[in-house]
């Protein structure tokens, strides 16, 4: 198992945001985490990245314990994240944003050039806009910067927090296609999504999170057909979105 959370508990003050989350991500998979607002999806990703202190439980990555490792060291170990709301640096150009992704400098110049080439192949638009300030890009382009920046770290596991948020349907489909392409190139993906239909269609396996607990874990295709999941998360758009 590449990434494994066991009974992870996280508190915000006295409130328990994660009440013992256990999940696994195997090398080469796309695993998705779906659930409503406040279910703990974003908290789970932030906790893996070391941004939230763990009260109990363990997070193992490739055999190493991540609990207690500061955030800035986790990215160098091979886990990078495109945060929710894109979180790009608005005052920096596209190129500077991408350079920030490689801030930890693992692999040196060769890795930097290789990762940059990969990002520009996946997102040719970013190559055109490399000198433009991040804050002046469209929502879709900002999302590309956020994902591209996370790839610049050369991660083994890519954590994506709501990559489709606020994007037009056509762009959503495009972003998901690129996520699949990234996965095909050998990067493991853990994807948090509100857009459950799209996420379940692209993922190998899925977890459903409710108020800080995993309530379902199954192959993504099965959840797509599950009546309870359909009622709670898929609404009417299962067949309509492409």
């Amino acid at each position: 198992m590449l990434l494994e959370l066991s009974d992870v508990r996280v508190h915000y003050g006295k409130v328990e945001a994660l009440k013992g989350v256990s999940l696994e991500v195997d090398e080469g998979e796309i695993v998705t985490l779906i659930g409503g607002n406040g279910a703990g999806k974003t908290t789970t990703l932030k906790t893996i990245s070391g941004l939230r202190p763990v009260t109990r439980g363990s997070i193992r990555f490739d055999g190493n314990e991540l609990v207690g490792v500061p955030a800035h060291k986790i990215v160098a170990m091979g886990i990078s994240q495109a945060p929710e709301g894109r979180g790009i640096f608005p005052g920096m150009t596209v190129m500077e944003n991408l350079e920030m992704g490689a801030y930890h400098r693992a692999g040196g110049k060769a890795a930097f050039a290789r990762n940059l080439e990969r990002v520009f192949e996946l997102f040719p638009r970013l190559a055109e806009r490399r000198r433009q300030p991040g804050g002046t890009l469209s929502g879709g382009e900002q999302q590309m910067v956020a994902i591209g920046r996370a790839l610049m770290a050369g991660p083994r596991v890519l954590l994506l927090d709501e990559p489709s948020m606020g994007l037009a349907p056509k762009l959503v489909a495009q972003i998901f296609a690129i996520i699949e392409e990234i996965n095909r190139q050998g990067t493991t993906v853990l994807l948090v999504e509100q857009n459950a239909a799209q996420a379940l269609r692209r993922a190998d396996r899925a977890y459903v999170l409710e108020t800080g607990r995993v309530v379902m874990a199954a192959p993504a295709g099965e959840l797509l057909e599950d009546e309870a999941v359909k009622a709670a998360y898929l609404g009417g758009d299962v067949g309509s979105a492409s």
Partner: protein, 280 residues
Amino acid sequence: MLRLINFAHSEIFMIGIFASLFAMHGLGIDSGDPALTGAALVGTLVVVTLVAMAASGLAAVAMERVAYRPLRRRGAPRLAALITAIGVSLFLQELFAARYGRDELGFPRVLEKRQLFEVAGANIRTDKVLVVLAALLLMVALDRFVNRSRLGRGVRATAQDAETAALMGVDIDRVVMLTFLLGGLLAGAAGTLYGVFFEAARYNIGFLPGIKAFTAAVLGGIGNIRGALVGGLSLGLLENWGSTVLGGEWKDVFAFTVLVLVLLFRPTGLLGESLGKARA
């Protein structure tokens, strides 16, 4: 840059002035000694500046460790940091007052204040040239560091979004410490320049320049280095214009009127905050 206005920065500057004075004494230069020339002058200025930068830099880093980091760790509100800053400021002032008294201490004159030439009625003196050149040099160095170097980029990323910067592998604690160190080094150098120019040191000498620096920063746009330069120049010009029109005793009143007016009518400053602009 860190969404924190360190009002105790005035005292870091004051420490730079005292350190300059003691460095001169340490080099065996006392009040009334003849001014230095040539290599001795340059050497003395360099040594004194380095001592002042080291003293202020260390003081700033120590202050961050002791006073601000615990607050940041606990996620304390910004108001708490502001009150802490005022507390630290008073503490340092009274510490120096208790140790060195409340009277002004004179500076030896190391640099002969000779008029070099006159331009349109303005007399250009050696010490003024020194101050302007040194200030420009420091500004350019800081600007280059923040905009060009990898660590500088880490500083900017932290200022724009600290949590995301941490995701990129930026060690936030180190960046904050570095910011305080840089601020301290600059304040130390400024302390030497102030000492050479005004030839005085007193426990509360940092107060007025501190508030004026704040005014200049607000005028130029908080969190913007080039803005601070523009703001500083504008404030200086406005002040001197005001004191010519209204009389010298109104100079400081004028500076603070500017502060209040800018806060009222253009809180983002002349150049605006670069972040704010990009986000809009």
